[in-house]
Symmetry: D2
Subunit: 465 residues, 4 copies
């Protein structure tokens, strides 16, 4: 019956296929991202960058001139996704001075590092919009390799990198001209000044901003440094959500406390980043129920046990009022409750590629299980969630179809079904037996083309050999 | 007819009066704080600390052994009030280290400086609760002279003096033990940690706090340093208001933006401090209308033109994102609109007595029209509001009966009517002719006793001869 | 022969003694501070605050009405001294704000804590001159108890507590008036401005300063924070030494590097504080030889092994260029070489009584063997030097007669010889068997009077019960 | 007689000249840098990059194929020099992060900006040695245009840009790896650690350093930030001077106080930078006499009156102990005394090309007569010294032959005499009539080649069009 369904899918494709264009992955066990049980000895026919058919190897006829990728004994999953990355990653004066004018290079490098590690799609939720759009489009056109990129630009309400939300001390050491250029590249008129506005004025500002061509909107419900403070009134929040939806794009949030979390849900957002962070207090049951009833997607950024312990140990150096170790323990407990309650979540990491000098200067404890190091961050996510009791199949959905749905991209990507883009990863070992087998990558395919992982990134700026 | 009314008032007093106990102010022009036209050649009979009768001198019979205060050619107004003072005034390490353990002395000194300058009642809206209550009670019992004192304690949600809301740098230079003692003396469990809480937990915390015996509650709707950020969700705010009202006390707010202002009104508060501060955007007409329809009292802290100019000139040294000069201009415009619209306001100053060393170190521009210098601050308020077009009579109401009503103390104080406490100021010149004549004080009387202004403050700690 | 010599000493005393005035310590083993072998069963006759005779108990006739202190089985040593203390100890804003105006109380308290622990004389080498002189004189007159006090005032060339040499950050948090008052109380015109001067101008400045009545001069050859930098040229240094000697007082130095150490010797100083600190390089043999040939006294401030290890472990948090752990290891090696070479040294500690709040805030490692905690610091000195191989007898000389000689006070104090002030400590156990027996204090006598150790300090300001 | 002498000079040239190679400047008034009176209608024959002959136009025979530069009515002076520049100019994190790896570009750009403005030779007395040597050599080989470059590397004893001597705050905001790379590029083992050393160890360190191929040595006698503190003992200083001379190179100093100035002279240095800076006290007459008797060259960095006034006005923001306005007034007075005493000085500016962002951020007062802005700095020097009474002829010597002599380069450059390198500037107006006519540059020639000033700098990195 499954085969039948898949075969039926074939007819949805309009154009006749040229055999030259066709690739067939044969004989694999397929975990298709729908949540269905894995199917063994399946072949996938790919043409025009899309999946044309998926069926038992016996039933699939391989066109004569098709390229064949034999995958007997291997496992195919949809291309992995990360619901929250920052491909320009760093807020130090040193980093931004060195790379100002070269952000596109950094973004391309990060997109290629991700792709080489199985991420066929990533969502950048805070960064400089102009270079992000440029690289997004170049990747989309096939001019350069890289993960498929969707971008937000600024987190509405927050400052750019040199502002109080990210590097409040920058002001002391940086020239005004440089500071303004950088902050304006991020903010584009959506910085803290929006908080002063009446809902009506805010609406105009957001409307203007949505014309910039981003793929989704993100706004801060609570502060980035002042995590317990609120940024916008409920009325203001509704305006932001309405304007995002008016522009036809998904709206997501930055929340860090129980009240900000609840407000976000009530404002009607589609997705909440790091929604397991609720500050010093666990998420109330009522809020968790509300989240489920409103079907708001929840992206989580767990840390592994190794990392948690290192963070707690290092927390003594944090200021007295934000008990960082306390926060991370509450977050951890929230994540366990979500897993136990079967709430579907999204893989999200905040990952980026760090300035090597600054990376070297990290305390040793912070080099353990670096859960925001792009390229390994998503693997650590699998590790961390497994520790919290998540089943491999749920983890795969969290990294594929759940993200596609949350971002309203599920008509194109997220599963291995006919009509979808041919983004997939072939693994040497069964990820359902051990989720960490996602690291045993044999082949990454994006848009139907096999990725030459050995050459990525094409140019090393931040990454070392 | 007026005389009739006043005479009628006599009968409301239960106890027969002993002549020895009686004081009569005779022959004055009286501006009684009700807003009525002034009455000439009036005498006020005072006994037991209360006003017994007010009537035309001709109609008043002076008891034989009564003390007579001849006030022919003079003007009597109700005792002045300040709706917002801070009698422990200073957040520097230097100040708090020097005076830790001596806060009662400072509070008493400030209360005496105020009384000598005509302030028979002041409302302290941020300070260390324990010493404030102690001095309040000692003044109430007549153990020491001083303005009648009503106190709030902390501004709920804000840190103590050494926290991020007042002196974020203190942490770098102060010992932990000292810092904690000071902050806890202010916060008493109502600091920033409340923001993390669910409304239910918050309710318990506020209920515990209201048991401490303060006279009113104040909470921060928006931040003190982060003026555009919000502190509490509407749900949390409602809890604070409910708990204040449940304890039978007035609830007031700290607001600094258009959204915080509107939220405060909607939360059901009784009084808003510095409600003319709306950040970078004028108060919307709708909000002003809402304020009026909900009958929320509005305390304003205007600056004089001299001060405004000095502040704007000095503003170049402020950080870029908070345009302090911009804020103060918006505030000024709001105040003018309020005056024009006839919205009744309260005199409020944020005044206290500054550490003399720190006062000396102020830039010269900041020594002009020092509108938070307790003792002269309320006079500068009259000057500033006159510049904005306020009529003398409205100014007198703002400094007397409006405040009494806003704080629900109008059954006892605020007007020169029989049954009220005998708090009054006798002036040498007509304040309705020129409001600045409030500075020409002849006599201050509190609770029916003439204040010996020459000896106040009894002990000089912060004040110089 | 020894007895003969002592008996002879009797005749040097001019005045006949009244028996009432006389105290006799009987039957003790005496270690008299001259370096001689201990004498057993000795009695000491004391009158008029002086030692009148010291001789075998058999040979001493006890006046009838004399007070007798039986000391059979006990050990008597001269009163202990500390060649380097700071009785106002602290440079924080918090400390100085709290105690400004109360420095005499602090000095008296510290002098009493020291006395209770056997220190009959201390030398304060950096502090506020006016209150130090006042307390010195009150103790000298017998108005209050306390260690005999000799004081220097400022370290010439260095700033006061709020200057760059001690608390460079104070400038950011303290008012100008307070800062200037404090710094001027220490500097009295001998701060960093002297470095700018020609030798001729410097001479006038020093001459003016020596008129202030201090007991000795101290100047900085190298910096306090910039330990490797030099403060004064050799010509300037010679001027300071000449002017000190011209005023009839000892001149000592602050040195921290091999070059500053050598310069100090060549400048002709009498005493060098912490002369075992030579920075990152050991003291060259030639410099050590020069020190000996010029007979410059050397005060050392060793740390115990426990403290050394704690300091080295904590050193990772110090800035990169001053390798504090490296410095302390070099210092330690220098001290061992001095002990091995038999160079006589002085007990010195830098001790004072710390602000309790700041003490509580110290990292735990810094609470181990607190070698600058006045009251225990000198005992830790004995422990530290014993670890470095110093013999008990040499340690006792370092704490008594060596200091007296170095400060040119050996005609009055430092040994238990007739004609000296009767400053002594009676111990319950033999300090030559184990130097730590100096802690087993039975009696402290100063100026012939038994100290009531139980009541000291008379008033606790900084010390806790 | 002059002509005779010049003609005689001809015979000193060994090689026969090819006419093609020859250039003749004809008919000019020549101020030859020797201090002689100007000679009118003179022609200069140039070949092989050298001056071949200088004589009256009538007496000079122009080779047939020689290039002729008609200079009738014009004025020829030797190529200008600056005795103190810093071609990598900036110590901010922002600047050094942006240009790390590109220092050679910056140095070349600055050398070209200087050359275009008449500076045929400059002496870089603090900068990163490796790129400076590289650009020096490329210019020397004619690979790129630029001022002839002589370089020192580090100022011995001082930190690199990110150390306490230049940007003590950098440590707070910069990664350790970056900081160390930068500081090591400047210090090369000659940083503050040298101060700790004994003279013997220091000798080895300096000897090692002189092998690096710099053109001269510079060391700090007094501190850069701690201007009144001394860096090295006289013994250490002698070692540095001896090792410089042993390597056959000139040794110069950084001094900032009367004592450091005197010590430098006594140490036997050849040249003192900014020797008019003597701190808060004027240079004593005896020191000025010593300077003259020892024939130590003195480079001065005067400011114009406009600049002086701006600096004094801005000085209120400097910290209290270094009275910068006081220092600059003392410096100014010293310079006037030097001019009055006829002490020959050198033009020196500390000039470099500033990071444009940081330049824009300067207070407006600091943009007036920017006396360290390379390209205009030397012209402002002429203006400043004229204001102080210097005669034009002395100013020209200060910018040419004095510098050549001081740096022991007077056999090659500094005058317009046969045998010297043909470095010259042709002016449109008489600099002896008005020294500011040095700005009216018609032609710059270096090594006998006319500089194409219009194309310099070849690549703009820091300079704007």
């Amino acid at each position: 019956m499954k085969t039948l369904l898949l075969a039926a899918g074939l007819f949805t494709l309009a154009a006749p296929l040229s055999a030259q264009d066709t690739t067939v992955v044969t004989g694999a066990t397929i975990i298709d991202g729908t949540g269905r049980e894995p199917a063994r000895d399946v072949s996938i026919v790919i043409a025009g960058g899309n999946i044309v058919s998926v069926g038992s190897s016996a039933s699939i006829r391989i066109p004569k001139k098709a390229r064949v990728i034999p995958a007997q004994g291997k496992y195919v999953i949809p291309g992995l996704m990360d619901a929250n990355v920052h491909l320009v990653y760093g807020v130090s004066v040193e980093f931004l001075a060195r790379y100002e004018g070269r952000f596109e290079e950094l973004i391309a490098e990060a997109a290629q590092v991700g792709l080489a590690n199985g991420l066929t799609t990533v969502f950048d939720s805070w960064g400089p919009l102009t270079p992000l759009l440029a690289v997004r489009d170049r990747i989309a056109k096939g001019e350069i390799p890289g993960s498929r990129l969707y971008v937000a630009g600024n987190i509405i309400g927050l400052t750019g990198p040199f502002g109080r939300d990210f590097n409040a001390d920058a002001e002391k050491s940086v020239s005004k001209g440089f500071r303004n250029r950088i902050d304006e590249m991020w903010e584009e008129g959506t910085g803290p000044e929006l908080m002063w506005m009446t809902p009506d004025s805010l609406r105009l500002a957001i409307r203007r901003y949505t014309a910039r061509g981003m793929d989704f909107l993100k706004y801060a419900v609570s502060g980035h440094t002042q995590m317990e403070m609120l940024m916008f009134s409920p009325e203001q929040q509704r305006v932001i959500v309405e304007e995002g939806h008016r522009a036809g794009i998904v709206v997501q949030t930055h929340t860090t406390s129980v009240e900000s979390l609840r407000q976000a849900i009530e404002a009607g957002v589609d997705l909440m980043q790091h929604c397991s962070i609720s500050g010093r207090v666990p998420i109330p049951d009522a809020t968790l129920a509300l989240l489920q009833s409103r079907k708001v997607w929840c992206a989580v950024q767990p840390v592994t046990k190794v990392r948690l312990d290192a963070t707690v140990a290092a927390a003594t150096s944090f200021p007295r009022r934000v008990f960082y170790d306390e926060l991370i323990k509450v977050e951890e407990a929230n994540e366990r409750r979500m897993v136990a309650a079967g709430i579907p979540v999204l893989l999200a990491t905040d990952a980026g590629i760090m300035n090597p000098d600054e990376h070297d200067a990290l305390p040793e404890a912070m080099k353990k299980d670096e859960n925001t190091d792009h390229g390994q961050a998503h693997f650590l996510w699998f590790k961390a969630m497994a520790e919290k009791g998540m089943k491999p199949m749920d983890a795969i959905l969290a990294a594929t179809s759940n993200i596609a749905k949350a971002y309203h991209k599920d008509r194109e990507i997220g599963t291995l079904e006919p009509g979808k883009r041919a983004d997939l990863v072939i693994l040497d070992a069964d990820p359902l037996a051990d989720i960490m087998n996602v690291m045993k990558i044999s082949v990454v395919m994006k848009d139907g083309a096999v990725v030459d992982r050995a050459v990525l990134p094409l140019k090393r700026v931040l990454t070392r050999k």
